[in-house]
Symmetry: C2
Subunit: 657 residues, 2 copies
């Protein structure tokens, strides 16, 4: 199988044929190389490798290699409690940065905690409890240095929606609280199990495009719901779809209170302005970070001063002083609402996990360190399980507060400890101060926070780059707005998976031509200098060959050949004698695919066309070999490159003619 | 970007590094070729092309190109009624073959029709009705020449199961019949719509592996159920799972009738023997084709002769004479059972469609003609819709009868017309003859027919070639045996889709090395002669880069680089300076994938490593361009082949040093 001499001659012109001539000039000999099988492995070895790629792609044990026993113990301790990684090097300079950033996020966390708890239809104090215990636990277990832990808007919203559709907080407050803590427990259990079972890749199925649409939809709903507080409406729907919320707003016009509206809108404008300033100048991040607390203080003072003159502004009212009461006795583990609690837990768990992991990875990438997804899941999960036993609801790393934390110069998770301490002081001593804080300010804070989730520029970018990603985005947006939160999410995941299947079901095939003067074969429709090789028809299949596309591919390849034959006939070109399938991009094959290849070979043989396979990848080669169809291809049916196939087959024709 | 001279020198040794030296010898100049964008197309053009690939991959209108108006009309007529394609060339010789094969399949169709109707818990006469009208309609519309149309075991079984779980034929015969005809109507409507909307690819999701397991499971259940007839049991479960069926058999031992058992087993042995003979010698196909009718005649005569002496052998009893009565007034289009009828229709519709299409394709491939899947679906669908209005239940192309038809020398669908005529004669004149036909013979015929569906050798082949295909097969087998028919099918489809997603979620990556003396770069672990290229790290990604794998790929690539760096350190090799990603097999990318590439570039840049992309396919190139990340790669970040990238970057390093 050695060709002693050949040359690929240059030819000008675009789609011309007749480009390759084999002549006897001086050129280094071109050998044809055999296509190798991958090294033989037993089923067990294959299974082990496959499982290790699925569950341990990051090779978490590589740290333990070639270490002494003591080092191994230490590394293990650091592995499970990342606090030991940095605690030994911790110094006063780091502490100073952490104290500053910790106090900054505390000033944001306290008003946000109260607001988000209201979003989940929970008493405001639960929001503060949730900003105390979980950050402390995360600081021991978590591996991100910049994550600011606490309640977040999306998870609060989803929990509030899902629970309120069945149980009303105003009617059955104890049951509602029980279900909230139980959902938190299951959210934590689900998160920790995903991490422990190393199934972290599950959250990858929520693509960025899906989340973009989902968050924008949720932001719109949440903002509209806040009109309740901002307009002073008393009777409001507990539903979460666009239409009932809007009709609630406009049907209760008699409840609108002008004092509330004036004050609410002024503070909203103030908060949005400070947000804009900080976005334009990242150095001034503290302006938007401090403004919620400033608004809370200012509005409370205003209400206290005006309380004899102005009526109709609703305030938070009495909040109990003291630390988180234990709530493990409130877990609702059997009864008619258990399924609801589990469902709510899983949906909020997966959403908060996605946010926490994404935020952690974002800031880790900025500072060039790695966050271990599965470990983070365990940390977030354990922190929620602990939270559910100490009157906390679902928490995770918040994007807005983590950004403030990062900008304020946080160095380690100690900033979370500082924040928790500030919340502790608030819980112990400052609760009475919130008595006159108006509800409208909480609504304004929530609107300011969630409005940043509407990223229409990113949606435009999606439209420009990938229409199907845009479809996933818009369908999750509309699903959340008009159907429901979990269903909207399910629709979006469905669209994403459909996209993958569509690509598999209708893969691309391309006719290749030779780029004159080279051994490069490329897509004829894309490379204008590429030319057809007479007597050959070279086709690249750009996808695995699976049950889902084998019928299509067989028909499509036959259609390509039919069209090529028609073209040859009308152009009086030399007859097609050989069909070359470039399998470089056929990254996998199954039994249906193998049958297709084998049938195709038989059908082409009946038309006296030769079928040649080029460069099957390892796993494909292995399966072709195991199914014994390689033998039917013979020595001249399998080549390593298209160039070698063309040269070798041409020369064998010459030898026979 | 033109390299004036370079040479890739040979180096012996397996995994050695240091293989490439750039020297100034005489070699033809190697140009680097620009990576082209695909020709620009508007969104509308792209959408149109995409839709035409999804819905019209076979380009059904190509027949109409460049034809006169008259020819176009004729071709159109032939397109919708394939009968016009062959009717003009039909001659006496063809007719003779068709008459022989038609009578042969009639002798099989009559006993099978009666038996399969019993399998669906329908009166036996419905099976004969279903062998009369649908074949006539198919002969006008269908494009397969060898398909023998009529009731089939799987669809009968599934319809019987699904309906009997809610409605009992013995208690509410009219309602049961109504539901059966309605389910048939919806099956036809569903099939015709799939064809009309060109959604035929839906049935591709039932992979061969899945069907193999499903049919084997169904065959086991059906065979065990036939023990009712074969043992003469009166009280039998209507459930379809293994356990209730087995317990029915053994708990009703007092009902076993020895006369039935002796006669049944003898005929079963006779039928199985003739089947074996025909399988060993395909020329003797007529032995197994004629044996069911022979058994029916023989057993009926036996019962007539012995009826005064032997009791306990149950017979078919009275069957009404006459043609199919109209049943369009029996369609059940509103009421509590409508959902059941629709569900049953869709499941039986999809199963019978799969069988019909697969059988049609099999025999078309043998005779080297094409069957148009979407058109076949319309034909089968319309024939079932018409059937539902003329007292027929679900029919399709049967594998066993089509094989007999093919072996008996059928040339066109006229054999179906002959068969229908034979059934017509039976319906009009011969019905009283079946009065004494024993039920046990029907059970024996069903067992003989379905036992061929258990193809354990194919399952062994699956295990050898593709473990995940085997898993899909075994899970549909067990699902059908222990859970239920539709759920077993759903599980199997789930496994198949999971397999596709698994491949997408955890794609393969391979380190490439140069095969000395060539421009070929191949997998180092597979090609022992390939050698590492110093200062370069060349990685091939073998999958689209999607949301579902972008996180994994990023981590995996970083791990590859970490391991390579550790290897370099321990081997005191020259430092890694450039990472080349071979994108040949990256057949698609989405926005998450683009972000991954861009983040990877930034992360590598921080470690002073250069990232280079090689040979992105058209659609990937387009998206990289639209998202503006190509610019950040610059001129020296994108090459057409790995060889060009290595040569050009090495020479630029030389120039700078």
């Amino acid at each position: 199988m050695v060709l002693n001499s050949n040359r690929v001659e240059h030819f000008s012109g675009g789609h011309d044929t007749a480009a390759i001539t084999i002549s006897g000039d001086a050129m280094p000999p071109l050998e044809t190389h055999e296509v190798c099988l991958p090294p033989p492995r037993t089923t067990l070895q294959k299974l082990r490798q496959r499982l290790s790629e699925i569950f341990f792609p990051d090779d978490p044990l590589h740290r333990f290699k070639n270490q002494t026993l003591f080092r191994k113990l230490l590394v293990g301790l650091q592995f499970f409690f990342p606090i030991f990684q940095w605690a030994t090097n911790y110094n006063f300079k780091l502490l100073r940065s952490d104290v500053i950033s910790g106090l900054t996020i505390a000033s944001l966390a306290i008003p946000q905690g109260i607001s988000y708890a209201k979003l989940a239809n929970l008493p405001p104090i639960v929001g503060l409890y949730s900003s105390f215990v979980p950050p402390l636990i995360y600081s021991v277990l978590g591996s991100s240095r910049h994550l600011a832990v606490g309640p977040v808007s999306i998870a609060s919203l989803v929990m509030g929606t899902m629970l309120s559709e069945t149980v009303s907080y105003t009617e059955e407050p104890i049951l509602y609280l029980q279900l909230a803590f139980t959902a938190t427990f299951f959210a934590g259990l689900f998160q920790a199990s995903l991490g422990f079972l190393r199934l972290g890749f599950v959250i990858d199925f929520l693509s960025k495009a899906t989340l973009l649409g989902f968050m924008a939809g949720a932001a719109v709903i949440v903002s509209l719901q806040q009109l309740k507080g901002l307009l002073g409406i008393v009777h409001f729907t507990s539903k979460m779809q666009l239409i009932p919320v809007l009709s609630s707003v406009f049907h209760q016009r008699n409840e609108w209170s002008w004092q509330t509206i004036i004050m609410g809108v002024s503070f909203l404008v103030f908060l949005l302005t400070t947000r804009q300033i900080s976005m334009r100048r990242p150095k001034l991040f503290w302006i938007s970070a401090a403004s919620p607390l400033a608004s809370v203080i200012l509005s409370t003072i205003l209400v206290v001063c005006l309380k004899s003159k102005v009526h109709g502004i609703k305030t938070i009212g009495h909040l109990p002083k003291g630390l988180n009461p234990p709530s493990s006795n409130m877990l609702y583990l059997h009864g008619p609402y258990l399924a609801l609690a589990i469902r709510t837990g899983i949906v909020t768990g997966i959403l908060s996990l996605t946010e926490g992991i994404a935020v952690g990875r974002t800031f880790a990438a900025l500072k060039n360190y790695q966050v271990d997804g599965n470990k983070e899941m365990m940390a977030i999960g354990l922190m929620n399980m602990a939270g559910s036993c100490s009157s906390c609801y679902v928490t995770t790393g918040s994007f807005s507060r983590s950004a403030v934390n990062y900008n304020a110069g946080a160095q380690t998770v100690v900033s979370n400890i500082i924040m928790a301490t500030a919340v502790l002081v608030t819980l112990l001593f400052l609760m009475p101060l919130f008595y006159y804080t108006p509800n409208l300010i909480l609504a304004a804070i929530i609107i300011t926070a969630v409005i940043g989730l509407i990223d229409y520029q990113a949606a435009i970018r999606l439209w420009k780059v990938d229409k199907l990603d845009f479809l996933a985005c818009i369908s999750s947006f509309l699903g959340v707005l008009f159907v429901s939160v979990p269903l909207g999410l399910a629709i979006a995941v469905g669209v994403s998976i459909f996209k993958v299947l569509l690509h598999v079901t209708r893969p691309n095939t391309a006719v290749l031509g030779n780029i004159p003067g080279t051994q490069i074969y490329q897509n004829l429709s894309r490379y204008k200098e590429a030319v057809r090789v007479p007597s050959f028809f070279i086709l690249a299949v750009e996808s695995p060959i699976y049950f889902a596309n084998s019928t299509y591919l067989q028909e499509r390849i036959l259609r390509w050949i039919r069209e090529e034959e028609e073209w040859i006939e009308s152009n009086k070109d030399s007859n097609m004698k050989c069909v070359i399938l470039d399998m470089t991009a056929v990254t996998a094959i199954d039994t249906s695919g193998i049958d297709t290849i084998s049938e195709l070979r038989k059908m082409l043989e009946k038309r006296s066309l030769k079928l040649v396979l080029v460069n099957p990848v390892g796993s494909v080669m292995e399966k072709l070999h195991q199914s014994n169809i390689l033998e039917s291809f013979g020595l001249e049916g399998l080549y390593l490159t298209v160039g070698e196939a063309v040269a070798d087959i041409s020369s064998s024709w010459k030898a026979h003619s």
